[in-house]
């Protein structure tokens, strides 16, 4: 689904979403195709579910979001060192 379709299908809700197709352009992470993974009760519980899912599936890309958000504006920053939930859990 596109973000506009997610918003229409799940109005005013907290979601864990997965990027089926996402790309980085000019320092922004653009989500082109989105799967809705879970509905959650509030912001903190959405973050917790996000962290659990990301740890269990380190190669997939999840995010927490509220569908009140008109546009998915996500800035991307580069870090060195180990980053990424599950990075230290996964086998080398």
């Amino acid at each position: 689904m596109r973000w506009a379709e997610v918003r229409a299908a799940y109005p005013d809700q907290w979601l864990v979403i997965e990027a089926l197709d996402a790309r980085t352009e000019l320092g922004r992470r653009l989500w082109h195709q989105i799967a809705v993974i879970e509905r959650c009760a509030n912001g903190p519980s959405t973050m917790k579910r996000y962290a659990v899912l990301q740890r269990e599936h380190p190669r997939r890309e999840f995010c927490f979001v509220h569908t009140g958000t008109t546009e998915l504006e996500i800035e991307e920053r580069h870090w060195s060192g180990i980053r990424g939930i599950g990075a230290a859990h996964s086998p080398p």
């Binding site: 995010c63 060192g81 859990h89």
Partner: protein, 143 residues
């Protein structure tokens, strides 16, 4: 110049920070001093103690590095400090920080540069040469 003790764990340097948000001050132990991080992140569980929770409309960011990426949200806090040294009106990222080791936060280059941090890995101390204004902190923040 106040000198603050660093603690070594897994050969990494940690410090305790204090975070003030809407008048509430909490201690944030286990903050990694990390010149490999552009920005400063606080563990969501500890941020919650100060009343910082993910809300609709919070700005999202993704931190990309070796081993993957993490999504965080962004919030301006009243103050982030190490001992007496800190920054008012500082922007922090809030994340799950689930890296397989106990971590309260990451003190990144935005904070370290703006406070003029001097890390002494022989004596295991950190000192701060200046108290930057929030405007200065903003101006050195990377793109």
């Amino acid at each position: 110049m106040e000198s603050v003790q660093l603690t070594l764990r897994h050969d990494l340097a940690f410090v305790t920070a204090t975070l003030t948000y809407r008048g509430t001050t909490v201690s944030v132990p286990g903050v990694l001093v990390d010149t490999g991080a552009a920005s400063t992140v606080i563990n969501a569980d500890l941020a919650a103690d100060a009343g910082i929770f993910l809300e609709p409309g919070d700005k999202l960011r993704t931190l990309r590095g070796v081993g993957g990426r993490e999504y965080v949200f962004v919030r301006d806090v009243d103050r982030l400090a190490i001992g007496e040294n800190g920054l008012d009106g500082f922007e922090v990222e809030i994340g799950a920080l689930d890296y397989g080791l106990e971590i309260g936060g990451i003190l990144g280059m935005d904070f370290l540069r703006a406070t003029g941090a001097v890390v002494d890995l022989d004596r295991l101390t950190i000192e701060f040469r200046r108290q930057a204004s929030p405007d200065e902190a903003v101006s050195i923040r990377p793109g």
